[in-house]
């Protein structure tokens, strides 16, 4: 390993795959922001690209790029940790490589069809070949099947590696979570005439991914990251992972009910959904206690400052975006007036960013450190302004955008929902209010700020650590030597590799 140089050829197969997945993820992240900007501009200038690239196409690419890049980010992170965690080389490396290319080609085709074909006649063929027309999971059925096949292959790689090597608490949770993740996708893969039935299952995919299985996946990735970067003890980290699973699934699974308030499902969902989703912030608050405890007990001498900063951003972002913004409109009494307005959009933007973007960016910084031959990434970095500014700009952009959307949402629920009784006239009355229009301008401005931040982040990914010959700061272990046999094995494995 040459410090400060790209050591791609010295990475293991699985780590090389991570780098590939992360690269595509970042391209898609950029695409997400560009299409988001176009869609945001269409709010202000509706004739822009009218009947060329209409709002629905831009918005579809905007949200699909997000879902896919986040999945790519998770897959990349899992490939990065699987060998270390199992202690053996990746099982089925050839298949894993093939899967990456198949998946990426499929994603490219889907996006090209979205952009150039856009829609089709109202028959089953369109759903199979062009677009399913269901928010977030618009990918046509052929791609659905392809995604499931790729996921099965991915599952084989991951589970197979753990079977060949050794299991741990983290890998156990991870593998079970992947089963749930893939299984839930099947719930979104059929067509029915019955709209409430359609939306019922559709939420199984969206909610149980985003508010349950993704959260746990992030928990697994973080658990591994904490052991590696902060030298946290495995037993403790694993215990907390279980606590988190219990709390997250305990509130999150039935929290699904908050999507069943208004889609034709029975009234008891108002009570169940309101109840469990009101409880959802409690685990987030509780986890704050543990974070403070940990921070107080261990002086943070991190070996990777950017990654740690993004991890802290994750803790705050998840809490504010999902916890605070979520609770604000989770009870049906409030949700009646905010559901389907820019409130939802405000919450969605902040929660996705806070919970998932942050953690994936943090993980990519860990990856780059290794790629650069375990280079120094603590204080006093060459060009350290870049990661700080990109972090700042991305956050200013995101928070500003969410606040603008919140104001627009408030105005909307006031003018459109309450005063106007939700008619079309009332909808447009709301959309033409000066507050709304100003909020849309601010959203646009903050969106541009965010995009600048992202470009800077991507530049930093390429440049950070380049030409620096200082080696990584030694990880401060948690002071107490690990008595577990398991961790000795790990140490041996690490030394061996």
């Amino acid at each position: 390993m040459k410090i400060g140089k790209i050591n791609y050829s010295e990475l293991s197969t699985a780590q090389k795959l991570s780098v590939k997945y992360f690269t595509v993820a970042m391209v898609l992240f950029l695409a997400q922001l560009i299409f988001g900007l176009v869609a945001a501009w269409q709010f202000l200038a509706p004739d822009f690209l009218f009947e060329v690239l209409d709002f629905n196409v831009n918005r579809m690419v905007h949200i699909n790029a997000m879902v896919v890049w986040m999945l790519y980010g998770f897959i990349g992170a899992i490939f990065w940790l699987v060998e270390d965690e199992s202690g053996v080389p990746l099982v089925g490396a050839w298949l894993a490589n093939a899967t990456f290319y198949v998946l990426t080609v499929a994603v490219t085709i889907v996006v090209l069809v979205y952009l150039f074909v856009q829609s089709g006649p109202g028959d089953a063929w369109t759903l199979w070949l062009i677009n399913e027309g269901r928010e977030y999971i618009e990918a046509p059925r052929w791609a659905d099947i392809g995604i499931v096949i790729c996921m099965v292959a991915f599952f084989y790689n991951v589970a197979g590696t753990f079977v060949a090597g050794r299991w741990s608490g983290i890998s156990g949770v991870l593998v079970l979570d992947l089963v749930a993740l893939a299984g839930l996708y099947l719930a979104g893969m059929f067509y029915t005439t019955n709209l409430p039935m359609d939306q019922y299952w559709w939420w199984w995919v969206i909610h149980l991914w985003v508010e349950a299985t993704w959260e746990v996946l992030v928990g697994c990735i973080m658990a591994w990251g904490l052991i590696k970067t902060l030298g946290a003890r495995r037993r403790i980290v694993t215990t907390w992972l279980y606590v988190e699973v219990a709390l997250m699934f305990g509130s999150g699974i039935l929290g699904l009910g908050h999507h069943y308030f208004w889609i034709g499902t029975p009234e008891y969902w108002l009570g169940i959904g309101g109840f469990f989703s009101a409880l959802e912030p409690v685990p987030l608050v509780a986890m704050v206690v543990h974070a403070v405890y940990d921070a107080g007990r261990h002086s943070f001498r991190s070996s990777n400052h950017p990654a740690l900063a993004w991890l802290i951003a994750h803790a705050f972002g998840n809490f504010i975006g999902a916890g605070v913004f979520g609770f604000m409109q989770t009870l049906p009494q409030i949700n009646m007036f905010t559901h389907g307005t820019q409130w939802s959009s405000s919450h969605g933007h902040l929660a996705f960013f806070g919970a998932y973007t942050t953690i994936i960016v943090a993980f990519i910084y860990l990856t780059i450190q290794r790629l650069r031959g375990d280079v120094w990434m603590s204080g006093d970095l060459h060009g350290g302004w870049r990661w700080k500014w990109s972090l700042g700009l991305l956050h200013v952009g995101m928070v500003g955008m969410s606040m603008a959307l919140l104001i627009a949402g408030y105005e909307q629920s006031f003018i459109e929902r309450a005063m106007g009784g939700s008619t079309w006239q009332a909808y447009f009355d709301g959309q033409t209010q000066p507050w709304f229009i100003q909020a849309m301008w601010w959203r646009m401005i903050f969106g541009v700020i965010m995009t600048v931040g992202l470009v800077l982040l991507l530049v930093d990914f390429v440049k950070i650590g380049a030409g620096d010959d200082r080696p990584i700061r030694a990880v401060p272990s948690e002071a107490i030597p690990e008595p577990e046999a398991q961790s000795e094995e790990l140490a041996e494995a690490a030394a061996g590799s």
């Binding site: 509706p46 009947e51 629905n56 369109t126 759903l127 305990g250 009234e267």
Partner: protein
């Protein structure tokens, strides 16, 4: 897995929390599955529960009124008012609504509009599109909807936003199907969402009893739709305010 060196309370042990995680996840998943079984029977189109109407509801006038007992707004199925003047069997109606839903998905409507409040926020919600006062009155509605859907940019009323709906190049059959789908959608009981919505002026929602038998006959498996489903509904559809609708959802379970 427990470390011999460090004593931990049983309630703080890895083992205990692993079991907790498994139990909690399993239990919640089980509850969700049981609730799902129940919900799926309730939201069957035309089921006894009456939340999701049979597709042949498009043969009837549909209202949206305040239900005093539930203290929220509810759809009401009124007397016969067949869509495009053509009465359909349940199977025909289902085929038509199905074509409409396929078209709405194929044209990616949900990434501008919201449907039952879900989707994008660039264009109005479609939940009560059939009942929207913007169509003027009952007599003009079908014609106006057809004209609009055939050529949205020309017929757009953007209310000062400049936001026009792009031409979706819908065929005549697709237009009819989409309208049927929207009519059926407006009769779904959405627990009072959207609140305070005032439908366009329509004829009465109750009718003389003699025509009832025929109607329920034609509908086959569906509940007798010819009479208002809700006991406490009043006609004509009230334009009165819906004070605090949705704020009083007490004891919802």
């Amino acid at each position: 897995m427990s470390e011999p060196g460090i004593p931990t309370e049983w309630w703080a042990s890895e083992n205990f929390w692993r079991k907790c995680a498994i139990f909690v996840t399993g239990f919640m998943a089980l509850v969700l599955v049981l609730l799902t079984f129940h919900t799926l029977t309730v939201i069957e189109a035309g089921s006894e529960a009456g939340r999701v109407p049979a597709y042949s509801v498009i043969n009837h006038r549909i209202g949206y009124v305040m239900d005093d007992e539930k203290r929220r707004m509810m759809p009401v199925i009124g007397p016969k008012a067949p869509l495009f003047g053509e009465e359909l069997t349940e199977a025909e109606a289902m085929a038509l609504v199905d074509h409409g839903k396929l078209t709405v998905q194929a044209r990616n409507c949900m990434n501008c509009h919201t449907i039952l409040g879900n989707g994008a926020y660039y264009a109005p919600d479609l939940t009560k599109a059939w009942l929207d006062p913007g169509w003027g009155n009952e007599q003009a509605r079908e014609l106006l909807m057809t004209m609009f859907l055939k050529d949205p940019p020309t017929n757009a009323r953007t209310f000062g936003t400049g936001r026009r709906m792009p031409n979706q190049e819908l065929t005549d059959a697709e237009v009819r199907a989409v309208i049927a789908y929207l009519k059926w959608m407006s009769a779904i009981d959405t627990n009072g969402f959207p609140s305070g919505f005032k439908p366009l002026p329509q004829g009465p929602l109750t009718e003389a009893p003699q025509s009832q038998s025929g109607a329920s006959h034609a509908l086959g498996t569906s509940p007798p739709l010819a009479q208002p489903r809700r006991p406490s509904t009043k006609s004509p559809p009230p334009l009165a305010s819906a004070p605090a609708a949705g704020l009083s959802m007490r004891g919802a379970t």
